[in-house]
Amino acid sequence: MRHAHPLLPFPALLAFACGSPEPKPEDVQSEAEAQLDEEEEVAQDAPAFPTRPLFGDTHLHTSFSFDAGTFGARLEPADAYRFAKGQEVTATVSGLPAKLSRPLDFLVVADHSENLGFFRALKDGDERVMANEYGRKWHEAVVAGGQASVDASIEIIKMFSQGQFPEELTLSPEQTRPMWQEVIQAAEDANDPGRFTAFIGYEWTSMPSSQNLHRVVIFKDGGDKAGQVVPFSADISDDPEKLWDAMDAYEDRIGGRVLAIPHNGNLSNGLMFALTTQEGRSFDADYARRRMQHEPLYEVTQIKGDGEAHPFLSPNDEFADYETWDVGNLDASIKKTDDMLAGEYAREALKTGLRLQTELGANPFAFGMIGSTDSHTALATADSDNFFGKHSGVEPSAVRASHQVISGEAGELYGWQMTASGYAAVWAHQNTRASIFEAMERKETYATTGPRMVVRFFGGWDFSEEDSAGDVAEVGYDRGVPMGGTLAAPGDGQAAPTFLVSVLKDPEGANLDRAQVVKGWVDAEGKTHEKVYDVVWSGDRVPGEDGKVGPVGSTVDEAKATYENTIGAPQLTRTWTDPDFDPARPAFYYVRVLQIPTPRWTAYDRVRFDAKVPDGVPMSTQERAYTSPIWYTPNEGSP
């Protein structure tokens, strides 16, 4: 036999053999160069500072993910990008037309790297699949569709997360290469510098004993670089440090840039922000710096619950119990206990980071915040009135609220517990891969649970009340640092840090209830503390003796799924000075914004589909935004 190099794609071979008009390698190169040129051309018009936040989803699955496909998704990355750009597509299972109220500015299709494209093989009844008892069973279930397919998917995820997935059915990383090329091609085709950014990315699905350590990996680069590797797989290692090794290798060898964003610490049973490395070593400064270099952001809110704060950890915060998922780990096989919570929630981790910084000289948890959907439908929906659910089996319907989505020894989670959340807001100068990626690296980002609020947050030492009267950007960048930054050292006579907090409502959404500053600090004994300050609120409410402002009220008509903007404010702005500042102690400050109550997605489902929603299910919600913190470190120095 004449030996053919299996690496070359078939059409390339053809070109080689016949001299057909297939593009030569130089042509491919010049295509990548053309994209770069376009980015650079756009970059010439860059404003001095970011003028509007870009909204996007960094974490979306399509049918290329083995679990999404089994759940019934048929839409592929190209469909996902089309949908994010504001075009209409047809949802797979429900057949409903799906369209966003407004386009997004950017999207990362982040399919699971493990068994990327497995679903296609399963659906097609690939030989290898049919040779396996489970493979045959699942193939039949997928062909049958409906609940059988959903049940199969749950079983697949369960076996996968328990490490019991049949080895014969596991695709090697190399076998996923053709699908990876398709993922890349879809992003390249959709990327439109200046107007819409399509990032190349994937999800590394590490979950020792079903304890969720997943990370979404995002490339700054185009296919010319990202195509030279295949996604790192948790089958090779489930240790984040090994993922960082692979990221380093890519950056050193190919010359690209890449970052990772962890999510769902709430399903990690304390492992996400554990105090030792995966190998059981104690942290040191090198580890801390390395972690933050690779993982500058944390995905704090998404469909599988909100991870900002937990009422057990923050008993004095009446808004801490928001869309809480605290039954157990990812498949509810191991019950959650209170001692695990400190390793799961963002606010607590930020506090722990301050303590570790005083001990190690570097902070391993100095992350910024974003939200994203983690939808497995190829539809990046986070609006409560337009929510397509976690996977295709729970697209809008009369019964999805009462469906079981996770069930194990620790308990059950039901469809109604899905959270219509969230999006990533990024203060980038421009809508390009480079500009958005760099804003993520400097953590100039915030999370929203869906609404597109405009949140500005600057820290400095001499902001006055007049500085927050109008557009705060110019003065903020001039005399302070934006969210994600670290306060410079105070000058003479500057006793406490001042902050500009400025919020505009979503132009197509609900009014604002209040903006709060959440402060965390560590005392001289090494004990961590937190305090939530109401900074600016709507109406003429007067804070009580405890300094807290009462509820804004509600205009929600749950039976009709409507609300009125007759309460709350369209904009909130104020200059705030920390009243309890101690210059000797490290601290962080971030802003939490609350909307007035609006109908939850369950209320819309009940009205639209006459859905059966179990008693006691919440029908209204207070959507919110969380900014990246601004840190203060005594005697300066980045965290």
């Binding site: 030996h3 190099h5 890519y250 705060v472 197509e508």
Partner: protein, 279 residues
């Protein structure tokens, strides 16, 4: 269009070309029972391994990969001798897919002639336009500052054309006071849909009557107006190339299928009630 290009776009010629290529690929009749393990194979295994794991394989891993390759090669050939590849839905689907790819590659790739691109641009001008933009200044009247912001806005609007004219000031706001060259989509993202459609209706420069948004009531002065315009061929060239490539690929795929289909006699042997359902 060169003779060669015209020829190349004939489906039958494409079919023959593909046939020739497949033959060239397969080499002389695969009767030989030779299986060559050479440096080429090692190179491709190593490259794949490197990409997946960020390191080359060890000797033991390489040996294992080669053994697997050999096993697969032998079994594949035996299976083909036994005709197991016939009537296998997965293999058939994969082969059909490869033919589709081949056909579309022949149709769409490569450089187009400038005349061809220009003609395509002219024929599909509607695909290549730049959206209209406006430059504006705006002031806001809020419910917080006025019992009736709409009324306040109308009063201020009337004062603009009074003698002497008064430029309205409005209330403090975090919204941008001015924008340059904003599209309808930009306006919607910042001010909402009602504001965007109100402003985009402007027919000339100057102050517009009050426009409501969910922030309050605005007075807007349009400072520049650029209508939507067709992009010239030079501006749209990259997009034209991409669109034409896409269109040609789809066309080539379909042409190829139709040409191939003609070489077969399809016998429809279905009971009447199923005919309508047939593909």
């Amino acid at each position: 269009m060169s003779t060669l290009r015209r020829l190349a776009s004939e489906p039958l010629v494409q079919f023959l070309a593909i046939g020739a290529c497949v033959f060239a690929l397969a080499g002389p009749a695969p009767s030989s029972d030779e299986i060559v393990i050479d440096e080429g194979l090692v190179w491709s295994i190593t490259t794949r391994w490197q990409a997946a794991r960020q390191r080359p394989p060890t000797q033991a891993e390489l040996d294992e990969e080669i053994a697997q390759h050999l096993r697969q090669e032998v079994l594949t050939r035996e299976a083909m001798k036994m005709g197991l590849h016939h009537d296998d839905i997965v293999i058939q689907r994969r082969l059909a897919q490869k033919m589709d790819f081949l056909a579309s590659d022949l149709g769409g790739a490569g450089a187009f002639g400038m005349d061809e691109l220009r003609a395509w641009h002219t024929e599909h001008a509607e695909l290549f336009t730049e959206p209209a933009t406006v430059g504006l200044r705006q002031v806001l009247f809020t419910e917080e500052q006025h019992t009736d912001p709409k009324d306040a806005a109308w009063v201020a609007y009337a004062a603009i054309s009074a003698d002497p004219p008064t430029v309205p000031t409005g209330d403090a706001s975090l919204l941008p006071a001015s924008l340059e060259a904003a599209t309808a989509q930009d306006l919607r993202a910042t001010f909402g849909p009602g504001f965007a459609s109100g402003v985009m209706k402007a027919e000339g420069l100057g102050w517009l009557p009050p426009i409501a948004s969910s922030f309050g009531v605005h007075l807007v002065e349009v400072t520049s107006l650029t209508p939507a315009r067709p992009l010239s061929f030079e501006e749209a060239r990259d997009d034209v190339q991409a669109e034409l490539t896409r269109a040609r690929r789809m066309q080539a795929r379909e042409d190829f299928y139709q040409a191939a289909l003609e070489r077969y006699e399809v016998i429809w042997d279905l009971p009447d009630e199923l005919v309508a359902e047939a593909p």
